[in-house]
């Protein structure tokens, strides 16, 4: 007799499984979980904390907050950040002062661990939300984050 109850039980479980997928089939119009990516670019918004790439914000006077302390360079596990610095004369005090020449960021080496942003004492660098980082030439992944002609915002070191 267990022969027939096995068959009954088997068919029942199979039909139960089919009812699950069938339910999704009927609700397929609403239930789609995939996004049609390049089409929804306009509405696609990443979360505030999303780690896309490291950027260095500049204000209207083309000033950034990086003092060239190199803490990020030390914190980076992969050598993604290289700071090429120089000593210039501060106009106000006339003393020699460290300033950045180029803040080089190798996106191709970056693992998005966030340690550089975590250690930055002046919040000079932060996460950008851009995630479309593919390029045809990999040298384009090496970026200079400080804009040409930019300088440190006054008073940031105090």
């Amino acid at each position: 007799m267990s022969y027939f109850s096995d068959i009954y039980h088997g068919i029942k479980t199979l039909l139960t499984g089919m009812s699950v997928t069938g339910g999704y089939f009927l609700r397929s119009r609403k239930g789609t979980i995939t996004q049609q990516y390049p089409d929804n670019r306009a509405t696609l918004k990443m979360f505030d904390r999303f780690r896309g790439e490291v950027i260095m914000p500049h204000d209207e006077q083309n000033e950034h907050a990086c003092t060239g302390c190199q803490k990020c360079e030390l914190a980076c596990p992969n050598g993604s950040i290289e700071i090429i610095w120089d000593r210039g004369i501060d106009e106000d005090t006339g003393k020699k002062k460290k300033k950045i020449d180029q803040f080089v960021y190798h996106l191709s080496l970056c693992t998005m661990c966030g340690l550089c942003i975590d250690v930055c004492p002046t919040d000079a660098i932060e996460w950008g939300q851009n995630f479309e980082n593919s390029v045809y030439d990999r040298t384009k992944l090496t970026r200079v984050l400080n804009e040409p002609g930019s300088k440190v915002r006054a008073g940031i070191e105090d």
């Binding site: 088997g10 479980t13 139960t16 997928t21 904390r49 999303f50 780690r51 693992t111 661990c113 340690l115």
Partner: protein, 373 residues
Amino acid sequence: METVIANSNFKSEEYFINMGPQHPATHGVLRLLLTIDGEIIKKVEPDLGYIHRSIEKMCERDSYQQIVHLTDRMDYLSANINNEAVCLTVENALQLEIPDRVKVIRTIIGELTRIASHCLWWGVMGMDVGALTTYFYGFRDREMINDIMEETCGARLTMNYNVPGGLMFDIHPNFVKRVKDFVAHFKTKIPEYNRLLTDNIIFQKRTMGVGILTKEDAISYGASGPVGRASGYSCDVRKHHPYSAFDRVSFTECLETEGDTFARYKVRMAELWESLSIIEQLIDNIPEGEHRVATNAVIKLPKGEYYQKVETARGELGVYIISDGVKSPYRMKFRSPGFSNLSLLSHIASGGKIADLVATMATLDLVIPDIDR
């Protein structure tokens, strides 16, 4: 039957087949050397090293803050729990007092990670036994957790949210609401998982009595996690050596005694419920306070040896640090659950069919970068 073959001129011989390193069932670059007689597996020999990145050696170069992000890349499905393990080791060595808030958040995020990992495993388990649709249902629910993670940690897979001393930043204001939404959503989905796959007669026939691991073997092979618990070996680190906030929540350790593939499946499904209940107990009373205690910019562990184990989604992860007092460890060793669990494979899959091997491997829940490191 065998005598018939022996007496005839018909020659029957075992042959050798190479499963992987590129094979859909090995979930990565694991290579299995199979000796097969027809469909029946005589011998399984796992061959490792295709994704070895010498993480342990790299740790000897890095500072303790930097080591944390490397562990994301070991068992990437329980990245947060790996991070937590390293942080706990360092914190214990420094004898830092960690705020309650950090402990609770770490526990919640760890359990979310466990659910995400089990969701993925469930989807892939279905796919390995041939039901392709489960994959998408599992990923749908995992995606919700990934969104929670992304909102709070900024990354979906390799979060690097823990730092020695606490959390890199506080949880997002939406975190609690989103987690509650997820818990409510997921409670309706587990019964659906059961109706679709667990109860399915074909699935039960495929998994019951396959790949049986006895309790003795589980202990002697060093099985841990759901694989060990399915054989009746009580090995939940959260229960026996509570860390973070696991000492203040009540949950049961999911144990089965059969030790077959279906038992391992059941343990993981039961763990989903347990993880949900742990999250529910903690989510409403996350203590206020600091999310991080200050550490020195350069952490130097006192000279000595330190060990901390945690329960990842796959089993027991041990972190072993030998420090000689400088900024990087002298030697760092990870006891990864996947490695020990994989060593079981040749023991439990021999004698089964090729299809059994695939089902067994699916319930061992192997993550190859975890095995190779």
